[in-house]
Each structure stands twice: as C-alpha cells, then as structure tokens.
Amino acid sequence: MNGNMVQALNQALEQEMLRDDRVVILGEDVGVDGGVFRVTEGLLQTFGDERVIDTPLAESGIIGAAIGMAVYGLRPIAEIQFMGFVFPGFNQIVSHAARLRNRSRGRFTVPIVIRMPYGAGVKALELHSESTEALFCHIPGLKVVVPSSPFDAKGLLVASIRSGDPVIFLEPKKLYRAGRQDVPDDDYEIPLGTAKVVREGEGLTIICWGAMVPQAQEAAEAVEEKGIFPEIIDLRTLSPLDHETIIQSVQHTGRALIVHEAPKTCGLGAEIAAQINEKALLNLEAPILRITGQDIVVPLPKSENYYYPSPARIVRGIKKTMEF
C-alpha cells in the first residue's frame, strides 16, 4: 500500500485483529464513527461490536476495562481521543496497568496498547495539542512509542500490540496525513526499544521523535550550506530508551541537540541530556542544548507557532552548539 499514517495504522489494526482474535478495540467513537481521526475506520463493520467497542466518555473506565480484559487474556487497544484527555484515566495507567505484572509476580500481565493522537501544530483547541510523554516515561512498567512515518507507524503498532507490556502509543497528529509512503502489506514489526539514525552526519547529533523529526530534517538541510551536517536520531521508542544508539552517535559527533515539543522542564530531553552527560562527558565539545516548547500551556492556534519548535529555532540551536 502507498498511504499516509492513518491508513498505515488502520491496516496494522485490521491485520492484527484478523491474525489474533484476542485483539479488541475500545474507546470513544471508535466504532460507528471510525474514530475522530478515522484510524479505526471500517473495523466495526468487519469485526462487530464485541471487538470494536464504542464506549461512553470515561477515560478511567476505558483504561480500567482494558486492563481487566487483558487480565482475562485479551489484547485490548484503547483509544484516547486526544492525549490531553488521558488524565482522568492516569490513575488506571500508573497505579494498575504499569504495576499489575509486578503486583501479581507475573501472574497477571497487561498487554494493552493505549493509542492517542498527541502534539501541536494543527491549530487545535486547548488541551488538543499536548505532548506529555515524559510523564509516562517516568513510570516503571510502561513502554512509550512514537512513530514518525507511515512505515514505522505500522511496524511499531504491530510490535506494540504483540508486546507483553502496556504500551503508550503516541500518534503525532500533525503527521497523520502529512505524506504518503510505501507501506508493505505484509506483516512486519519494528522492535520496541530501537532508535533509528534517519540521517547520518558529523559534528552534531540531533535527537528527536514524532512530529519533530521532519522539523529537524528541515533544519539539517538548512544548515548544509554552512557546512554543517548533523546526524539525526529518531528515537521511535521513548521508554525504554535506546541508550546505545544515542551514546554511540554522540561519542562520534561530540555534540548533541535534543528537540521536543513538550515543555522544557523535566521533559524527556532532560533525561537524554543527563545520560549523555553521564556516559559521554569526555566526548562533549559543547553543552547539550534542548530546543523545546516553553514552560507554558500550548497557546491557542493564532499564537501556537511561538510555542512550536520551528526549523528556524532548531537552526539557531544548531548554530549555538556548533559555535560554542
């Protein structure tokens, strides 16, 4: 198939549901409506309303029910309509999904996927632009995954569904329909926990994920004329982090720039910077910079671009790092 990220995700869901009848979907408007972004389009018709469950608006109920279904042996995929609405269900994730395996010494596992569109850049209403991945990365027991292309979206979602652990699967809604790509109709997985060098380079490593990947790529192209050729790592899995790929790259390039759209303080960028400092201090030729959203609420659409890390801001970060 040649398709966009929504289509790639939809294909992943359909194929996994065909392959494994333990896979079920639940969430608000996922059935008749096919999801507000149409990621679950057509699945109700194919699999019926016991496997594609339209639920009342109740994020704690949805995630809690998914946990129970998983304990009973199913592989539920819960859709949260926007990442900003996951918090009413946060307790179920943090206190239960992440802990039941440990709490039962392995007897009960929670192989659920919690899918949510995340991120800004699409001129949405308040609480429709959040990017709070760092909160989930701090919780032991969760895996956190973010694709940046249709190909990765399918492979990562398949791997997430088959994983034995609760996976927070973040979909960059800015990239949902941003471009088409060849996506194999065959079954394939992209192993969780493996980052990808999406651009080889020298002198600087840019670490990013999701919707920031194309922004970083644009910035990297822009600085070529200045003779700067950054390496770019797309993390793909945010938890557990692929330390090795990050550290190796920075040991090679000597400089690191982290780009994320979440607020700066205690964002995942901090963890990455801390690890680079710990493991590659002697390689560093400049401080590790973070180009991120500011420590404010994502502004309403007309002011959103002040918040959103633009290629221009990334370029400034690159220059600052190179000129240190």
Partner: protein, 348 residues
Amino acid sequence: MLQILNEKGDVKKDLEPKLSKGDLKKLYSFMVTTRVADTKALKLQRQGRMGTFAQSLGHEACQVGSAYALETNDWTVPYFRDLGTYVTLGFPLKYWYLYWMGNEEGMHIPKEFNLFTITVPVGSQLPQAVGLGLAANLKKDRIGILSTFSDEATSTGDFHEALNFAGVYRTPNVFLCYNNQYAISMPRSKQTASKTIAQKATAYGFDGVLVDGNDVLAMYVATQEALNKAKNGDGPTLIEAYTYRRANHTTSDDASKYRPAEEVEAWEKKDPIDRFRIYLKTKGLWNESFEKQVQKDAEEQVEKEVRDAEATPSPPIEDLFSHTYSDIPQKLKEQMDELKAGLNEDDQ
C-alpha cells in the same frame, strides 16, 4: 417531563410563568440572536475565518431559558456548547468569537460576569462548580450556581464525585444537563442504561427533574425553581433538558455518518424558536415587523462583534508568558527572551 409549551405552541395555562411582555420579547430575541450568531460562526468557519467550534443549533431554548433565570450574583459554569447562555448573560460576543478564532484575547472574562471559563475536558468543571457552592455557603452568600453540560458528561467520574459532594454539603448548585441525544457519534441510549438522566439524582439524595429542553418557558421555570431552592438552602437539583443536537458535533464532524437524516428532520419540527413564536403570536406579542426588528438587531449586533473580533490582534508575546504564575519565574523570562531574540533574527 415538564412541558409548558408543546410542539404546536399550545400553552399549559396553569404552569405558565408570570413573565412581563418585555421579558417574553427578550427571551425571543435572545434565542434569535443565538441562532444568528451561531449561523454566522458557521459561515466564518467555512470561510477559514474561525476554527473548529461546536454549534448550538437547537439548544436555544435550554440555553436561553435557563440563563434567563439567573440573577446578577449567581454564577454560571458553562461548557463548550453554550452560545445562548453567553447571549442571555449579555456577555460581549466579541470574546466568544475571538476564543473560537484561536485568539488568546478571547480568554478574557470581564470582571462584571460571574462566569467561569470554558472547560474542555468533559465533566471536569462540575467539581469546581461545587467548590463555588461550598465557598458561597461558607461566606453565607445567597446565590445559586448554574452549571451546564450535556448527556455524555454524566458518564464521567467527575460528574459523580461532584454531585455526591453537592448532596452531602447541600451546596446551592443547579446541574443542568442538555440531553441532546448524542455525544459525537454515541447515542444517548448507549451511554447509560439509566432510563432517564434525571433519575441519576436518586444516587445523590436530591431531586432530578426532566424538562422539555425545547420549551423555553419550561426551561425558565424549572431553572428558576431550582435556583430558588438552592438559595433557600434546600440543596442542589439535577435538571435534564430533553433536546437534540441538530448540527454536527463540531465543524470537524460529519453526523451523517452515524445518524439518519429523518431523525434530524423530526427534531427540526420541534424547533424551540418556532414554538415560542406561535406562543408570542397567540399572546399578540409577535408580528412581522417585530420579527424583522429582532432579526435586524441580532444581525447588527453579531456583525459588530465579529468586526471587533477580527480587528483584535493576537496578544503580544509577553502575554503568553505572564499568566502562568503570579510572577514570571527566571526560566520563563529566559525562554521568552530567547523566543524574541530568535524572532528578531528571523526577521532580519
């Protein structure tokens, strides 16, 4: 179900509220203004001059009738589909347009209005509304607090925690549910197995009343009674306003995917404005020239508010940083300075 005006505009005499001619005409004009402002917003949205928003079409009676029962010191805690409430409160619609245009200036709420912000996470305003009630009780302020929401909010944990608190502390809250039969694509019948939403009040030890939400008189009467009860220290009330969301969920939605056109048409016949027009006519309060005047006034008001809104620039960058805390912490100053310096650089 409390109904005073039926679909044909017939009135139940014994239940008819004692409203002056002026009041009745105002109710009508507020409903018309709501519809005009809503229609205008849809047009602006289609032209790319406004962002996604939630239309109020069909909710005019339940919004206007309830808000009309509010007194100056009362508080209103609205939800995201409440245009008629703003109209009735006399809130400058400029801000309403600005908000949905995505301009941060639209977040202003002038001091004169005891009006809460729009709450995006469904249901989560309700515990806050109860907090207002607790505070009013403590301060011995004799006020009522009207909070609105739609059917789906009743599925949230916050609805439950809020109403339970309200029952326990007998706060002066009126919980008004616009049961408009849908939550995006989810029909009311699939949201809860409860026969009515009103009956959910049983769980909290206070009264629930079912009201025809397309009957502006019934909405006015029921809300006023509930507010009076609240002010008399007789505790909260849950009102279920039975109505219908005739538009798409928001301008990003396509309702034809999940419901039949006939259903929508059937509800068009129950239009709250048509019904009230017949009533006014019967009472000799309506004629063509009145109608024209009301329409003209509404259009002029709306055009002016939209013009004002469109003439309002987005706030300066400082504004994005200055309302996070009571002061601006060092790190925010640095981030703001970095942003400004960068923009200057880009400009050069």
